[in-house]
Amino acid sequence: MATLGTLASGLGHDLRNLIMPVLLRLDVVTASNDLSEKARSDLASIRQSMLRLQRLAGGLRLLASDPFDQRDEAQLTTLPDWWADLQPIVHDALPPHTLVQADIAEDLPVVAVPPGTLAQILINLVMNSRQAMEHTAMPRLSLTGRVEDGRVLLDVEDNGTGMDSETRRRCFEPYFTTRARGYATGLGLSTGRALVNRYGGDLLLGPEQESGTTFTIAMPVRVPAPAGHDGTARRVRLLIRDPRQLAMLRMLIKHRGLVEIPASTTEGVDLTICDVEALPSVVGDEATSTRGGSIIAIGTPRADTPPEHVRWVDPRDFSVLDDVLL
């Protein structure tokens, strides 16, 4: 599976390198004034196909995500984004007339399982569903995300043949398969469960139903960032002039689930991040200084300023901010 993932990722990378030039050339051709309406319509269709191919390439890249990559960002999945990447692959893995329905709300909590691991588990389930729906007149696969007992559950339901009682009892046993050897290893479900168990999640078989089968991927949510003074997300104000530092800080703040508030706000601030130039106004001037909350200064410590509650961060090493913002 790891080798296939690497191959898929390489293919996805190469596809992207080819797709961008095509998209750029499409822009050039579309800008011409001499095109008929029909030609414009054809170009629009080509663009749609290329964008779909681009999303497919993005999904292939997901399959090679390294579950052993310990960087925090690599361990988290925002399910709506993840589904947007993976959707084309799921569609292509199923018969063309399959109805795929997804209810994955934008406000579902971020889950603490790597996107590549989740992709591998889902693709395994989809391949099982494909076989189960082989003779279904109107095949349907539905994905539903929900929150229950502090975990996010993703139900994957098909309307295929379902499982008999022995298959239901043994489906998580390694090497158990209802397919012919050579076509299936019987390791998909047991491996999927082991993978998600590693992150404190689970893969569960849903209750017996009249037709079809439901599996549920249960996932722990990201450990929430410490709450601010009023119990909600920490409120951060940024007094940074360098646009590069500002863009990076905004990315980090969003990633950590913190909320940016206007730079002019002085009340109810949990954290102020400022540059050296703005520091005196933050700590010295009573009219504009932060009341409460901690202060991070980006730059080199100056002998005349640092009060004890200011933490300094080297602008060339923002990685330490990861710990500070947690």
Binding site: H13, D27, D85, D317
Partner: protein, 134 residues
């Protein structure tokens, strides 16, 4: 309003991309030309000679050429040139590593052409840009 003139230098081995980007940028007001680097190992010297407004730097260069060293040298030697990192393997960690070294922008190869052109224009205008995915 008159557009600010700008030139772009591509440090990338993808000739298809460079040719297409040049054609597309020709539609942009203020664009004065695209510069290429034949020998990637000498990218910094070429940049010093041509003084582009923006360098589009592929972070995954072939032949053992170290793109991060190129970034460091351009930032140090060409303070008026803004580097826009362009990669097929985007990550938050790479954003931090490249932008804290002085890059002005970071764009994933998974974005659209509009996003790439928009990122170049915004960097020219002095804005920092992070575009990870569509």
């Amino acid at each position: 309003m008159e557009s600010m003139p700008f030139s772009v230098m591509c440090i990338d081995d993808n000739v298809l991309l460079i040719d297409a980007l040049e054609r597309r940028l020709n539609l942009e007001p203020g664009f004065t030309g695209l510069q290429r680097v034949d020998d990637l190992a000498h990218s910094v010297e070429v940049a010093e000679r041509l003084q582009p407004s923006v360098v589009l730097l592929d972070i995954d260069l072939p032949g053992g050429v170290d793109a991060l060293s190129i970034l460091d040298e351009i930032v140090e030697r060409l303070p008026d040139t803004r580097v826009l990192v362009f990669t097929g393997f985007p990550s938050g960690d790479l954003v931090r590593r490249t932008m804290s070294r002085g890059a002005w922008g970071f764009v994933s190869k998974g974005t659209t052409a509009e996003t790439l052109i928009g990122a170049i224009r915004r960097v020219v205008a002095g804005q920092a840009v992070i575009e990870l995915e569509e």
